[in-house]
């Protein structure tokens, strides 16, 4: 388009003026209608122009801000440092933002702080320089990202709750055991003391001690549960894989004692800590272990293996292997899709959620047939992704 204007303008001097006017009109139109904010400043940081998109974005009229220092559009501490940025650039020529662009924080007239993408161009004139800033308001995109993030963590929380809901009667049983014992021990003390004021204190003391041991047992179960149903923000930290896995598997096994499942832990020593969200990975392991326990209900040899080891491709692998009847082919292929289930009461979202969690950790979740019969689930989590925490 520019070429067209030039060639038109080359024909005559009046045409030159006309072309210049035309080009100016075009430029003005572009600036006026640009959806992005466009602000030009001089070498001192004084605002020279402020387009309508910038007016809408910041809430100032152009007349309010032209002639003012551009730092009035940013919050502290940038507000106080901006003059020094320009000065440093003019002195050293070192480009930190010009031609690079990045996300910075801006401030509206009403004081609201918001994220923007800023690209800065330099305009070299005969005797001076100007800078043009192109600004895109990111707050809406951010809000959308945030709400997806929130929804996702809500979903994970709800699925953890529903997981526990399914286990409710098993958990009630598990809590009733220590509670029953506590009542019995204390009632025994009570009766001994009531019958005989000189009852053997060592005997009653021992019973009381046993009661408090059982209270601790109950408290421990509740503590495990609370950790698991915690709703807090996702939190990625370096975690020791083995203890994370063991805790989750033990919680999943709660109440399956009478099924007499033999669980073998084969946890490799010396694994490096890996960057994970503990609760989420525990949710995955719990889900897999519970699936396995269910798969074992109908077989004679109720053997479950939970294994961790380091693989050649710098990952930690977790295997949950059962000796159950195995998965029918047509289910195995669609296993991680939502709403695929073999369980009468299931809605089939457990494994698709698990896969989502593992994917978000940069890992892999897959299944193989156990050569000795049954199913093996594998989770592989990369060790070397320590620089940045994943956004889940």
């Amino acid at each position: 388009m520019e070429d067209g204007i030039k060639s038109d303008g080359a024909s005559s001097p009046t045409a030159d003026d006309e072309a210049l006017a035309e080009r100016e009109a075009l430029l003005r139109s572009i600036i006026e209608t640009s959806p992005n904010g466009l602000i030009t400043i001089d070498e001192c940081g004084q605002i020279l122009s402020f387009n309508p998109a910038a007016e809408t974005m910041f809430g100032y009229q152009a007349d309010d801000v032209i002639g003012k220092n551009v730092n009035c559009l940013m919050p502290a501490p940038y507000r106080n440092e901006h003059d020094a940025y320009i000065e440093r650039y003019l002195k050293t020529g070192e480009k930190r933002i010009i031609g690079i662009g990045r996300e910075v924080i801006a401030q509206r007239k009403n004081g609201e702080v918001f994220p923007v993408d800023l690209a800065v161009g330099e305009i070299r004139l005969a005797d001076r320089r100007q800078f043009a800033g192109f600004i895109r308001d990111n707050s809406a995109r951010r809000a959308a990202e945030q709400s997806v993030h929130t929804l996702r963590s809500e979903l994970l929380h709800v699925s953890r709750l529903s997981e526990l809901g399914e286990m409710a009667s098993a958990l009630a049983h598990e809590l009733n055991q220590p509670l029953t014992a506590i009542i019995n021990y204390l009632e025994a003390c009570h009766r001994l003391l009531e019958r005989d004021e000189n009852a053997d204190h060592r005997q009653t003391g021992r019973l009381m001690q046993k009661a408090s041991d059982q209270a601790r047992r109950a408290a421990q179960i509740i503590q495990q549960l609370r950790k698991f149903i915690t709703k807090g923000e996702t939190e990625h930290k370096f975690e020791p894989v083995n203890s994370v896995i063991r805790e989750a598997a033990e919680l999943a096994m709660v109440g399956s004692r009478q099924l007499a499942v033999t669980t073998e832990f084969d946890l490799a020593a010396g694994l490096p800590d890996i960057m994970i969200d503990r609760v989420q990975i525990q949710q995955v392991v719990m889900n897999l272990v519970r699936n396995s326990v269910e798969a074992l209900a109908d077989v004679e040899d109720r053997m479950l293996t939970v294994r961790t080891h380091q693989t050649a491709d710098a990952a930690v692998q977790i295997d949950v292997i059962d000796a159950g009847p195995g998965l029918p082919d047509e289910v195995a292929q669609r296993l991680f899709q939502p709403f695929v289930t073999t369980k009468p009461g299931g809605i089939g979202i457990g494994l698709s959620i698990c896969k989502g969690i593992v994917d978000a950790h940069g890992g892999r979740l897959w299944t193989t047939a156990n050569p000795e019969g049954g199913t093996a689930f594998h989770i592989s989590l990369p060790i070397d992704r320590n620089r940045r925490a994943p956004h889940v």
Partner: protein, 212 residues
């Protein structure tokens, strides 16, 4: 006392078993504990004990299986089963297999001791199960046909929700019938209500969809 009473406790949970032993000892009973149904069968002598507290949920052979096997050789030992709270279906099965009563964990100590004492009496009376308290039969007469239906559903071990589905009424309505039932039958708990119904020979209602 020279003539001591021996009570067996069969529970796989060490703490529950140990605490029951302590409590029953404090009450003046002799106690012997077993950590599994297998241990009980190997080392126990049903003929020498006076009463047995049996946990239904155990790894290996569970309480119901043990009841089934015991019924054949030793019908004289009164057995009280211990179930989880609200596990009525399990309790009903156990009663049908010949348990004299059931208590729900965690149990009220007085309720448990009363249950044991009445089991001991029933042993003394040589388990005259046919002798039903006439008051129970009298109370049954007072029930409306609908209440009777609800009772038969409860004896089948169904929850309010399931009963409602079976009878085509809301769980709330079932709850109302149920509290009336308890009142008319002077039952202190659902467990007691079910036991009286079983004693009186009330048959559990068959399911309209799946067999019980």
């Amino acid at each position: 006392m020279s003539d001591r009473t021996l009570i067996y406790v069969v529970d796989d949970d060490d703490a529950v078993r140990d605490s029951l032993e302590a409590l029953l000892l404090a009450e003046g009973f002799d106690v012997q504990g077993f950590g599994s149904a297998e241990a009980f069968l190997a080392d126990g002598d049903p003929a020498s004990a006076d009463c047995c507290l049996l946990d239904v949920r155990m790894p290996g052979k569970d309480g119901l299986t043990l009841l089934q096997e015991l019924d054949r050789d030793t019908a004289t030992l009164p057995i009280i089963v211990m179930t989880g709270h609200g596990d009525v279906p399990m309790a009903v099965k156990a009663m049908k297999l010949g348990a004299v009563d059931f208590i729900e964990k965690p149990f009220d100590t007085n309720v448990m001791l009363t249950t044991i004492r009445s089991a001991l009496q029933s042993k003394a009376a040589n388990r005259l199960r046919s002798k039903v308290d006439p008051a129970i039969l009298e109370n049954l007469e007072k029930l409306t046909p609908r209440e009777r239906e609800v009772l038969e559903q409860l004896v089948a071990g169904r929850s309010n929700k399931e009963v409602g589905r079976q009878l085509g009424i809301s769980p709330r309505t079932v709850e109302i019938h149920r509290s009336r039932l308890m009142e008319k039958m002077t039952a202190g708990s659902l467990a007691e209500l079910v036991r009286m119904a079983i004693d009186a020979g009330i048959e559990p209602a068959a399911s309209t969809s799946t067999p019980t």
